[in-house]
């Protein structure tokens, strides 16, 4: 099966809004990957060719959810290939994915990162908490990380580790926890994403309570604190709430995509949207 990552729907479809040719770390980008996750729910023993024709940009941190989706498809026994990853001046998707090591997982040799702006794409097993912490530590010591105080760096490090530990404790993923990022020297900014393909926040909530809660409400519930979906006698709920406060204080951006819900905290405040079920084009 060939999956076109750009423009997956015919333009003559009423009400159709084609996907941008740039997959960014935003609602549209996560919606596109949510659709890809559904498209890849086939197999086992199918050929899945993810065709990048028309994709002129991919925010490097989006390699984390993209890698998680494709890894699951592969582990289900499918053969996953990537094709037509572009490499032209000004839209060097291929160069980005070669430098951050993403394409190394698809049979290509990693390119050196002479600019030092990539954050390596990595997959961790849930028991790899310390390996992830060491990786995160190296990311936060990168030459292009915006200058910050020691206390701020420590807080940031702990926050990133909280996200990983949340995935370990709640996602029940059997397909690893994926991480990737990118430094932007000119902004200056670090984008970093952690992704799993587990049961999600709504699924975790349902396991604990037996209640169906809409994805957006489940995410909002998770970030408000004093709650936990842990199944043992251990309290919880501090991590995401503290992270949210940290992001607000430092004028950063935090995004959570889980189930059909997309939630974002940025300089303008909070917003939440439901990733609509998209008509299948095949």
């Amino acid at each position: 099966m060939k999956v076109l990552l750009a423009d997956p729907l015919p333009e003559d479809r009423p009400g159709f809004h084609p996907f941008d040719d740039r997959i960014r770390s935003d609602f549209a980008g996560f919606s596109r990957l949510a659709l890809l996750a559904r498209q890849a729910e086939i197999g086992p023993f199918e050929d899945i060719d993810v065709d990048f024709t028309g994709v002129e940009w991919l925010d490097a941190n989006m390699c984390a959810p993209l890698g998680a989706i494709l890894y699951r498809a592969g582990r289900r026994g499918n053969s996953v290939t990537l094709s037509n990853v572009q490499s032209e001046s000004g839209k060097d998707v291929r160069g980005i994915l070669l430098r951050n090591g993403f394409l190394s997982h698809y049979g290509q040799t990693r390119w050196p990162d002479k600019y030092g702006t990539t954050v390596e794409y990595r997959r961790f097993e849930p028991k790899d908490q310390r390996a992830f912490a060491e990786y995160a530590e190296a990311v936060l010591k990168g030459a292009h990380v915006p200058k910050m105080t020691t206390a701020l760096r420590k807080w940031m490090m702990e926050s990133v580790c909280e996200i990983f530990e949340n995935a370990v404790m709640h996602s029940r993923t059997r397909f690893g926890i994926h991480a990737c990022g990118q430094y932007y020297r000119s902004k200056p900014r670090l984008d970093f994403t952690v992704a799993d393909v587990g049961i999600g926040i709504p699924g975790s909530l349902k396991e604990k309570t037996g209640e169906d809660v809409a994805a957006i409400e489940a995410i909002q519930w998770a970030v408000t604190g004093l709650h936990t979906t842990r199944h043992d006698n251990v309290p919880g709920g501090v991590g995401l709430k503290r992270l949210r406060e940290f992001i607000t204080l430092n004028k950063g951006r935090m995004q959570i995509a889980s189930g059909r819900g997309f939630w974002e905290l940025a300089g303008t405040g909070e917003s939440a949207s439901e990733m609509e079920p998209i008509p299948e084009p095949w």
Binding site: R130, A151, K154, E211, W221, T228, P235, V238
Partner: protein
């Protein structure tokens, strides 16, 4: 024999990175074992550089369960060598634990209330 047992978090975990809930569980078991033998514990965070709430919830938060409780923990657990930035995190973990163990089923009710509101919409 001393009434107070020194416990080094760095030693129990074997790393300066105390991020995993499972590692916190090992610290909890060390403390709980001492408590059950009527000993006090002096818990040192010397050489610990990174802490998460997930670790502290397991290591310290669950001490506030009915087996020991707030008064017992306050009287028998001494925390030392903790970075000032982490003291605030510990305070929040302890506050949350006290809230949680006051009524562990409370959050289920919160969710049920929330889902009821949603279905009423």
């Amino acid at each position: 024999m001393s009434d107070t047992i020194p416990v080094s978090v760095f030693e129990v975990v074997g790393s300066r990175l105390c991020v995993a809930s499972d590692d916190g569980q090992r610290v909890f078991e060390q403390i709980a074992s001492a408590f059950r033998q009527g000993r006090r514990v002096r818990l040192s965070f010397l050489n610990v550089e990174t802490l998460t709430s997930a670790f502290l919830n397991a290591a310290i938060g669950q001490l506030y369960s009915p087996e020991f409780g707030e008064d017992y923990v306050r009287a028998n657990l001494e925390i030392t060598d903790m970075a000032p930035e982490d003291v605030d995190l510990l305070r929040r973990v302890v506050e949350t634990a006290k809230f949680y163990f006051k009524d562990p089923r409370r959050f289920v009710e919160i969710v049920r209330d929330a889902s009821g509101e949603l279905s009423d919409d």
